[in-house]
Amino acid sequence: MAEKDVIIGLEVHVQLNKLKSKLFCGCSTDYHDSPPNTHTCPVCLGLPGTLPVLNKRAVEYAIRVALALNCEIQGETLFYRKNYYYPDLPKAFQITQYDFPIGLGGKILIKGEDGEEKTIRITRVHMEEDPGRLVHAGTIDRAKYSMVDYNRCGMSLLEVVTEPDMRSPKEARSFLDKLRNILEYLDVFDGDLEGAMRIDSNISLVGGERVEVKNISSHKGVEKALAYEITRQRSARRRGVAQVQETRHYDELRSITVTIRTKEEAHDYRYFPEPDLVPMRIADWVPRVEAELPELPDAKRERFVSEYGIADDHAKSLTSEIRVANFYEDVAKRVSPRLAAVWIADVLKGELNYRDVSIDRFSPDHLVEILDLLEKGKITEKGAVEVIRTILDTGGDPAKVVAAKGLAKAEDDAVMDAVRSAVAECAQAVADYRSGNEKAINFIVGMVMKKTRGRADPGEANRLVKEVLDET
């Protein structure tokens, strides 16, 4: 539902979780399976007297992302303090960027509501540190107490801010999917890790005040929250209630949004330049980072079409995830690229989605083997699908699955035997065929399939039946 009166802009917090250490200290970023507060040090706990030291690699990653989002990189960039009290923020200020962010004025292409490509403008990309994580005993509004885990505190975040260019929840989702896709291509981000991406959405109806729905971590959640907001704001408008500028929280369980604070309660963050860090002159870094930038989704898609001669839809499907694209290229080098495209985009991805597993669960070598058997006529298409499913569900390798399940296409002699005996047994059908009823042959082919327990190729069986009928 593309709706002219809906205005959506996003602020996306991306954790650069492929970095080895945190943004301002040496603590490891590999905390996801660790007990709370075990990946901390005096610096990320903000103990008195500690100072931040900037992780150079994080700046490189940030430049990489900003370039991929077509931003202009600022030659000199610096950090500010954003002051506010919250228990997940041990210094009571967040080191972030304000004036002079690392990247300004970018854009990316998404598939718009009408199916056409649409440009979403990026206002800015800036770096900041992640606060810790609060774990509430119960729900946020009714918890008797909360616990703090500082493992996450000090992780490198990028905030990507868009212009209000989206017109529907679906476009917002499409933007998020595309952003994630790009980030994974850049090898700076693993979207599967908890808390990897958190989204604040700004949504308003034309003429109405802006509502910010904060801190949703799933793309689907954003889509649902925005859809809820549109309905809520419309219905308020119908009842003559004016929307005020406010911040709302999305309750994932109830699929509704609830108000947190209105504009009057807005914070004054008292931004000022972080005196413990010096300004960064990064202009000299940009050419090198740019040179090392990997091929991005749109470019890869175009190359797949021209290099492998595959359909654009297939190329798009194959490049929507870097792991799938790499898988495809691996397979396409060894079997027919077109065949590989069809089988990965149309069959394998479907089977993976159905099981909600990633492509890492399937070996490219196995797919090559399966497609090879198929091309050589050793198995049928139906058999190939069966092999893929069996490997996904119970493991094994193609040769063994084919043998164990008896999926090998019947040997030609055996088929020919079946054809001859079928022709001998189906006298009525043979007579009908001879008297000009060509369809009667299907009955005989059916008999052949029955005799071979489906291992014969139907087309091949058809040809052989005709051959036998014509020679007698």
Binding site: L47, P48, L51, P275, D276
Partner: protein, 475 residues
């Protein structure tokens, strides 16, 4: 002096006995120079030294540390109730360096709460007294460190200087104190008051001692992004004299508001330097009159942000039963901070608020640039090699005399704060007495040119008796 102490220790004197003598003196003292002593670790280390002496620039030398410098395992409370009982799990860079060079930490010294003050009266643990006159303040904020060194309760000490906090108490207590060039000493582990202004530095009985301690604590540390690599061989060339050195005398640092006896002592010092081969010329630092305003805006703004972390949640003060987070931390802060700290947090918060930031903080930064340029011009090549001024406009005042009038206390920093705004190094050393109270001479140098400052100070010290005079109260 440290050289003699080191020689004694090297010749077999017992570090344990030295440390023990210090502790008994401290315990009998009326000065209140220390917040807490580290007797166990100091004795342990002294005994280890006695049984197997190690080498190092400060091998076996006891040292006192200002309470705002983080020491692993030793309470570091910044003389604030809100940090009472806080024992850090890590050492500041300077503490690591002291330990590497063999020093023995004997305790943490009293100070103005979070270094906010000029008299050490704002300490939660009560004021430190001036060893020259127990009714007077030792200066601040490193008053405990200065009083301890002046009274022989520590052979040397570390302080920190944000707007004069080493030089003022050095001046009031008649000892040597250096505020190094910004960036020369790592601030890693210094509990921040105003990050862009402060440095850790030595408080000692002699210029040579200050140079020795600086050799230990100065130098690059990758944990402080504002620290810079520099040649730190301060002891070599220390006796080079002042022949040919041009001393700039800034006209704005004399006249109205300056005690005539202070002014006279400083002019005598300038004459002495002249006799020793230096020359002097009048210079102008025209933006001096804006320095105090700019300093207090910058310092309070940064402080309001730095001190926001003290909420009692992870360490420090906790009051009775917890309520909701907001109430709990508000009450802890209401009770945990003293009035001067609250005043500076409030003023700093105001100065950074939307709508005021440009009018106050940004403007103060512009003034700071102008003041820095004043110093660069006066100390440019071909100009003066050092500047010579009074450290404080008057000698130590009485306890209680100014504490109720914050503005008059702020005004006392008029000759020290411009140095922090400019980031240049400055030493304070004794240059006379007024009514039995020490007078401090301030020698200011070019960025990272501590060597010339030390050389001039040493020449003056060698030619004068002031550093040898010991306060009567403790003699």
């Amino acid at each position: 002096m440290l050289r003699e102490l080191k020689e004694e220790l090297a010749a077999g004197a017992s570090a344990e006995e030295k440390v023990s003598a210090l502790f008994s003196k401290i315990k009998k003292s009326k000065l209140n120079a220390y917040n807490n002593l580290s007797e166990d670790s100091a004795f342990k280390r002294a005994r280890e030294f006695d049984s197997a002496p190690w080498s190092g620039l400060l091998a076996g030398v006891p040292i006192a540390i200002k309470s705002c410098i983080s020491t692993r395992g030793i309470e570091t409370n910044c003389s604030s109730r809100i940090l009472e009982g806080y024992i850090p799990p890590y050492d500041a860079h300077v503490i690591e360096r002291l330990k590497e060079e063999g020093a023995i930490i004997i305790g943490k010294t009293n100070m103005d709460e979070f270094a906010m003050g000029t008299s050490t009266e704002s300490s939660y643990f009560g004021p430190t007294r001036n060893p020259w006159d127990l009714d007077r303040v030792p200066g601040g904020s490193s008053g405990g460190s200065a009083a301890a060194v002046a009274a022989g309760e520590a052979p040397c000490a570390l302080g920190s200087d944000t707007g004069g906090s080493i030089r003022c108490p050095a001046s009031f207590c008649g000892i040597v104190g250096l505020k190094p060039t910004y960036g020369l000493v790592s601030r890693y582990g210094l509990v921040s008051y105003a990050n862009s202004l402060e440095q850790i530095g030595p408080l000692t009985l002699s210029v040579e001692d200050a140079a020795l301690v600086m050799e230990v604590i100065a130098g690059h540390d990758k944990r402080d992004s504002t620290s810079i690599k520099s040649d730190v061989a301060y002891l070599s060339g220390l006796d080079g004299g002042v022949e040919g050195l041009v001393c700039g005398v800034p006209k704005e640092y004399f006249g109205e508001g300056v005690d005539p006896e202070v002014e006279k002592a400083v002019w005598d010092a300038i004459s002495k330097l002249e006799v020793l081969g230096a020359s002097w010329k009048e210079v102008s630092l025209p933006h001096t009159k804006y320095a105090l305003a700019a300093y207090y805006i910058i310092a309070m703004s940064e402080a309001s942000s730095n001190l926001a972390r003290f909420d009692g949640l992870r360490y420090g003060l906790r009051l009775g039963a917890d309520q909701d987070w907001h109430t709990t931390f508000s009450e802890i802060r209401a009770v945990g901070f003293g009035p001067e700290v609250k005043r500076r947090i409030l003023l700093g918060t105001y100065a950074l608020s939307a709508g005021y930031y440009g009018r106050y903080y940004l403007k103060a930064l512009k003034v700071r640039t102008l003041i820095k340029q004043d110093f660069e011009r006066a100390l440019s090549t071909g100009g003066a090699g050092v500047l010579v001024t009074p450290t404080m406009p008057f000698p130590a005042f009485k306890i209680g005399e100014r504490i109720e009038d914050p503005l008059s206390l702020y005004m006392a920093d008029v000759f020290t704060v411009p140095i922090n705004l400019a980031g240049v190094p400055a030493i304070s050393m004794p240059c006379g007495f007024a009514g039995g109270l020490p007078i401090g001479l301030q020698i200011i140098g070019r960025h990272f040119d501590e060597k010339t400052v030390f050389r001039a100070a040493k020449a003056f010290e060698d030619a004068t008796p002031y550093h040898e005079t010991v306060p009567k109260e403790v003699a």
